[in-house]
């Protein structure tokens, strides 16, 4: 039986009031399943990033509910919500946002350190995850010494080091060339996705569509449709 990783119901987000009110996301409901890689696609300004922010507990919706593992995300207090993000959600940002003053392995260890894990233990675990993304030999280098693709893999290692059930990636290929972008997404599909984890990717890069299990199209803040596809290696 398929497990629902995330359920969003009636999501609305608008900016401004009265006649100036503009909907960024309008009445969007959908489900994402564990073990699937779901893309949110659409042109610029279609509300993809806003929706991603709302379902990952970063931007509060004006109305609507987000359920992850039975918890209504937006009913949690701000501290509980921060804890929820730390423990259940992994983030990969478009610009990676790695700390250039820390080594690669220290960057990966950040979520564990925030979880109050002992420093040396956190570094030990972070090294394992760097090994998973194939960068064990670059653990002590600062991120600026790495290529764009390598930095992306460090960001992925950081996002999965706390073993989240939900991984959200914002335009993961935007800063990479086509070939590297495809390799990264293929890597995520093969090594990061598992039956207990759901991955949601916001992208408009159609070169990586072939790796999607489901593609959710948006336009003008509305959900047009969700197409579930079969990925073949």
């Amino acid at each position: 039986m398929e497990k629902i990783a995330l359920r969003a119901v009636g999501m609305n987000k608008w900016f401004g009031d009265g006649e100036a009110r503009t909907f960024a996301v309008k009445d969007v409901s959908f489900e994402a399943k564990s073990g699937e890689m779901l893309y949110i696609v659409g042109p610029s300004g279609s509300g993809k990033t806003t929706l991603l922010s709302m379902i990952s507990g970063i931007l509060e919706p004006n109305s609507g509910e987000v359920f992850i593992e039975g918890s209504d995300l937006w009913k949690l207090s701000s501290n509980d919500l921060a804890d929820f993000r730390l423990n259940k959600i992994g983030f990969v940002f478009q610009d990676f946002h790695l700390f250039s003053r820390l080594t690669t392995v220290e960057n990966v260890a950040i979520p564990l350190i925030l979880k109050r894990m002992n420093w040396s233990e956190a570094i030990k675990i972070a090294k394992k995850y760097l090994d998973i993304v194939g960068l064990a030999n670059k653990a002590e280098l600062p991120p600026i010494k790495l290529s764009g693709g390598e930095q992306q893999r460090v960001a992925i290692a950081r996002a999965i080091v706390s073993q989240p059930d939900l991984l959200v990636l914002d335009e993961p290929t935007a800063s990479l060339d086509g070939d590297t972008g495809r390799k990264i997404v293929e890597f995520i599909k093969q090594n990061v996705l598992n039956e207990n984890r759901c991955i949601i990717i916001v992208t408009h890069d159609d070169r990586i569509f072939e790796y999607a299990d489901a593609i959710m199209k948006m336009e003008d803040g509305r959900l047009l449709d969700i197409e579930r596809v079969k990925y073949e290696k």
């Binding site: 990033t49 991603l52 922010s53 970063i58 931007l59 701000s78 501290n79 921060a82 804890d83 929820f84 993000r85 730390l86 423990n87 959600i89 983030f91 940002f93 478009q94 610009d95 946002h97 700390f99 003053r101 820390l102 220290e106 950040i110 979520p111 350190i113 925030l114 109050r116 894990m117 002992n118 420093w119 956190a122 950081r158 914002d170």
Partner: protein, 378 residues
């Protein structure tokens, strides 16, 4: 929390340029503040050195007198009156005056001459050479071996000199706890010899020194002296009076205060601006940390750790630097008037804490304003 603190410190110290600028700013500010306050403290301490060296419990003086070196001579009856007050164990006169000593090479050197009561020698210094009773010998003087000693050509026992056309002979060498402020050597002799050798006005007694039978008698003695139109001050009160004179009536205090405030503002600006730039450069990263799951309180803690660490290191370096400079200066110039006191250090620490709080406030405000959504939105 240890891991988060370590993370904060790594973020700070690995940015070597910013960290060095912050440290330099705070170190420099602390250095200036401590130097200024130490110099002032040294000056105040030297200004009242005679009070410490003489060691009397109560000093009777004209109310217009603001420091030991500019005493207003009092008539003899003040001494007699003081001796008659109930609770007075003993009261003795003391003379403070300036004179020119003609050295063997024919040059003149200004000196401070202290005339001790001929009977009791009350207020006498500790000798490191010679015998105190030799002060009664003909032309006997005791020289103080302090930073100014070499200005008298390093005299020995038996050395002779000329003072106002009188012969003087060194019969003892003394050590005192504090040198004077004005950089002149000090000679002790008997009261009578002092007023004989040094031209003076009708009245000759600079101060009357009183020792009370018990500390409970002090207020009564002060009251009785006040009735006579004079002032009787305890050692601490006289020291404070001198300090207040230098602080508020010479321009010295306000100048030091202005310099200290300027140093503080320099430190505050450098630290505040550098830390603000540091936060601005890392703002997106702090936003990313928030998105990942860091709580506002944890980010505040990180900033507090960073500013506290920087300020403490800067404080230590600044104090170390100031102390080293003072030690080196004293090695080269023994009469250099500066002293690092706990009060100076505490005051500088308080000012550094204010710098830390200000810098933290700037950083915290900015970091708490950043929304994780801004990171997604780019």
């Amino acid at each position: 929390m240890f891991g988060i603190s370590k993370l904060a410190l790594k973020l700070l110290t690995n940015d070597k340029g910013k960290f060095s600028a912050l440290l330099m700013g705070i170190t420099f500010a602390v250095f200036l503040m401590v130097m200024m306050m130490s110099m002032f403290s040294g000056i105040l301490s030297r200004a009242s050195s005679s009070i410490d060296n003489v060691g009397a419990q109560i000093w009777v003086l004209d109310p217009a007198v603001n420091n030991v070196s500019s005493s207003i001579p009092m008539p003899e009856y003040v001494l007699d009156y003081a001796k008659s007050i109930k609770g007075v164990k003993h009261a003795e006169p003391i003379y403070f005056g300036g004179a020119l000593v003609k050295l063997r090479d024919g040059t003149y050197q200004g000196v401070t001459v202290i005339g001790l009561d001929d009977v009791t020698l009350y207020g006498r210094p500790n000798l490191i050479g010679g015998k105190i009773e030799d002060i009664f010998a003909e032309n006997g003087f005791i020289v103080v071996k302090d930073a100014e000693f070499d200005k008298l050509e390093n005299p020995e026992i038996g050395s002779e000199f000329e003072i106002n056309d009188h012969r003087g002979k060194i019969v003892g060498i003394a050590k005192v706890s504090q040198s004077g402020l004005f950089g002149v050597p000090t000679l002790y002799t008997t009261y009578k010899r002092a007023i004989t050798y040094i031209p003076s006005s009708r009245f000759t007694m600079s101060f009357v020194l009183i020792e009370s039978k018990s500390s409970d008698d002090v207020p009564y003695i002060q009251e009785q002296i006040q009735r006579l139109g004079y002032e009787a001050l305890t050692r601490e009160q006289f020291t404070n009076k001198i300090a207040n004179f230098y602080k508020f009536h010479t321009g010295l205090g306000i100048n030091v205060l202005i310099m200290t405030v300027i140093s503080f503002i320099v430190g505050l600006s450098i630290s505040g601006q550098t830390f603000y730039t540091f936060i601005l450069e890392n703002l997106e990263k702090f936003g990313a940390l928030k998105a990942i799951g860091a709580k506002g309180s944890e980010l505040v803690a990180m900033i507090l750790v960073q500013t506290t660490f920087t300020c403490l290191i800067g404080y230590g370096l600044g104090v170390g630097l100031a102390t080293s400079v003072i030690i080196l200066a004293k090695l080269k110039m023994p009469d250099y008037a500066a002293q690092v006191t706990y009060i100076n250090l505490s005051l500088a620490f308080v000012l550094v804490v204010i710098i830390a709080v200000f810098s933290s406030y700037i950083g915290v405000r900015k970091v708490l304003q950043i929304q994780p959504f801004d990171i997604f939105r780019g």
